[in-house]
């Protein structure tokens, strides 16, 4: 009996510090995201003080509090140019972070990411085809739908090809990614060859990744996909934890692995298409963010998935701010910026994975 009473306070303490860490992390990410969103809306070719940004939002929702922008066309600059861009950055970043976390969970492999294994490129081919052939049968939704269908097919392809004996090893996954990327890049090249000048510019900006095309209709088209994807992902979180034990053990614990797999592939396609449809290929966010979150609070998906969505949104709002303000009157391609940071990180992760498993298995 004494052993039990002695052990309990220590365990409870450790459990509560763990929970505290989670609360602190989620709160910090949410607060940082809101602050960063206001800052991103404030800065640009015309600087509008953050108080006026907040004031403008409050007035719009019917609260006559705070100052309105006093710069010429300030209100228009905010509502027509900056807000849709910031919101699209949030939606795209959240989708990418969440897609990475889910993909790593269902592949059982910390190196899986939509950009790395070719799913983003597959989705981009679908979207590019719509632009080049001028298809608009569903309005703005056409691009999203095409990206979704192509993304779904690519995810299924990668998933079935890279697995053997119920698991996905690193070599198989990365080699499949190389093959898929090669085919998708060739398809994009063909589309560029067939495209006119406008199409060419659109496709090029996608390969580099950019939020310059942000408009409210674009935001309205991708947001439902992203929200549906994130909600579904959160609903799968506990089962993804159990899947870490391997498919067989998960099944023995009562998890319907086949159903889980189908739902996760759907979630990945939803999130990737919502991220790619208007912003193009922004690689490595889905790799870096979940990894950092795991280092901070452990691999449990019930925290990992929402935290990765928040973290992805925060990073992308920040990265986009840097991309459009670091060089006056010029814009750095966003995808290039994330790859400059994410590429070396991926390299480090690869080496570490190799060292840990003692080879490429």
């Amino acid at each position: 009996m004494t052993a039990v009473t002695e052990a309990r306070p220590a365990r409870l303490k450790e459990a509560s510090t763990g929970r505290l860490k989670v609360v602190v992390l989620l709160t910090a990410l949410a607060v940082a995201l809101v602050v960063m969103a206001v800052v991103a809306a404030a800065l640009g070719q015309v600087n509008i003080p953050p108080t006026q940004v907040v004031g403008s939002v409050l007035h719009k929702i019917g609260l006559d509090v705070g100052p309105l922008p006093d710069a010429a066309q300030g209100d228009n600059a905010l509502w027509i140019v900056r807000f849709p861009r910031v919101v699209l950055a949030i939606v795209t970043g959240a989708s990418l972070g969440c897609a990475g976390a889910v993909m790593q969970g269902v592949f059982g492999n910390p190196l899986a990411e939509p950009g790395v294994i070719g799913v983003s490129w597959g989705a981009a081919v679908g979207a590019a085809a719509v632009i080049v052939f001028g298809l608009t049968f569903l309005g703005n939704w056409t691009i999203v739908l095409a990206a979704f269908v192509a993304g779904l097919l690519t995810t299924l392809l990668v998933y079935t090809v890279s697995r053997s004996g119920g698991r996905t090893d690193v070599v198989n996954l990365l080699l499949t990614g190389i093959a898929v990327n090669a085919v998708a890049t060739a398809a994009l090249g063909l589309l560029m060859f067939a495209a006119g000048n406008d199409g060419l510019r659109a496709i090029t900006s996608w390969q580099l990744g950019s939020l310059a095309g942000a408009t409210w209709p674009a935001v309205a088209a991708v947001t439902p996909c992203a929200v549906a994807g994130i909600v579904l992902a959160c609903a799968c979180a506990r089962r993804l934890d159990v899947l870490a034990l391997g498919e067989r053990a998960a099944r023995q614990l009562g998890v319907d692995v086949e159903k889980l797999r189908v739902v996760c592939v759907l979630v990945i396609a939803l999130l990737t298409s919502s991220a790619v449809a208007f912003s193009g290929i922004i690689a490595f966010v889905g790799l870096v963010i979940p990894h950092l979150i795991r280092m901070a609070v452990g691999p449990g998906h019930r925290v990992l998935i929402p935290a990765s969505a928040l973290g992805g949104a925060l990073i992308l709002v920040t990265a986009d701010l840097i991309a459009r303000t670091s060089i006056p009157y010029q814009e750095l391609p966003l995808g290039v910026l994330t790859s400059i940071v994410g590429g070396p990180f991926f390299f480090w992760l690869l080496r570490r994975t190799r060292r840990r498993s003692g080879g490429w298995g």
């Binding site: 052990a7 365990r11 450790e14 910390p110 506990r238 067989r248 614990l253 009562g254 998890v255």
Partner: protein, 272 residues
């Protein structure tokens, strides 16, 4: 979605001596070859049943068939009176737990989080309230509390094996299937595993354990089933089944069996 909404059938309490699992005429085919042929075997609540036999005799296959991992080519497996495929995966998980031979984990969960995974079948049922108590008890019984907050992937093979066993115990299923639970363990922890199995049986649980060490089987099992070349060579109390002539024939190696000077349980030794 429809499957989600169907009411989950919670297990009924079982009495010692009731049949937990029943295989009848069980034949399993793998790669066109019969790995098991016409096996009949009952597993009862309140007993430890050891499955022994030479490599390739079909022990693990029989365990996998009991678990529902492999579908029989002929014959049936019944659990709590109904064929396995009449239960949903979750209902099966409420009734039987399985300790696999290999312990893999894709992400660095802490040991205690791995043990908590054993509680997944009970989520959103009234038994969910027992979660923390079940986890704490399982970790105490397997001597794993000391490294509850260390990452599973950083533990030694023996520690991982015990954490995996704790996960199986935390599941609190009335039937426990153990596939070579002592393979990676030193003598102290081998004995610990079988003491845990014995305690489970004393609570009225059914325990099926695949084991290579005939000494452990003889010392702890209430019944021993000897498999050879996919068939049942003998099944019964250790003293009756573990005889020099039967074992020598099954293992194709001269084996001596002598009674333990103190307990009288059979001691199994190869001729050296």
């Amino acid at each position: 979605m429809i499957a989600l909404r169907r009411r989950v059938r919670l297990p009924e309490p079982a009495a010692s001596g009731d049949t937990a699992l029943r295989a009848t005429g069980l034949t399993v085919r793998r790669g066109g070859r019969d790995v098991l042929t016409g096996v009949d075997l009952d597993v009862r609540h309140g007993e430890i049943l050891a499955l022994v036999g030479p490599n390739g005799a079909g022990k693990s296959t029989l365990l996998a068939a009991f678990c529902g991992d492999v579908a029989p080519a002929e014959g049936t497996v019944h659990m709590s009176g109904a064929p396995l495929d009449a239960w949903t995966p979750r209902e099966l998980a409420m009734r039987r737990s399985m300790l696999p031979q290999q312990h893999t984990l894709s992400f660095a969960f802490d040991a205690i989080e791995v043990v908590r995974m054993g509680r997944v079948p009970w989520a959103a049922t009234e038994l969910e309230d027992d979660d923390e108590q079940a986890v704490a008890q399982a970790m105490r019984e397997t001597d794993t509390t000391a490294f509850a907050h260390r990452p599973f992937t950083a533990l030694s093979g023996g520690e991982q094996a015990r954490v995996a066993l704790a996960r199986v115990l935390a599941q609190r299923a009335a039937t426990t299937l153990l596939d070579e639970p002592t393979a990676a363990l030193d003598i102290k922890h081998q004995e610990l595993v079988f003491a845990v199995a014995k305690a489970q049986a004393a609570r009225g649980h059914a325990v099926v354990v695949v084991v290579h060490d005939l000494g452990l089987a003889a010392a702890y099992a209430d019944r021993v089933a000897v498999l050879a070349a996919g068939g049942m060579a003998a099944c019964g109390p250790a003293e009756e089944v573990l005889t020099a002539s039967l074992l020598s024939e099954v293992y194709q190696y001269e084996i001596e069996v002598i009674p333990h000077p103190r307990t009288g349980r059979p001691l199994v030794l190869p001729q050296r």
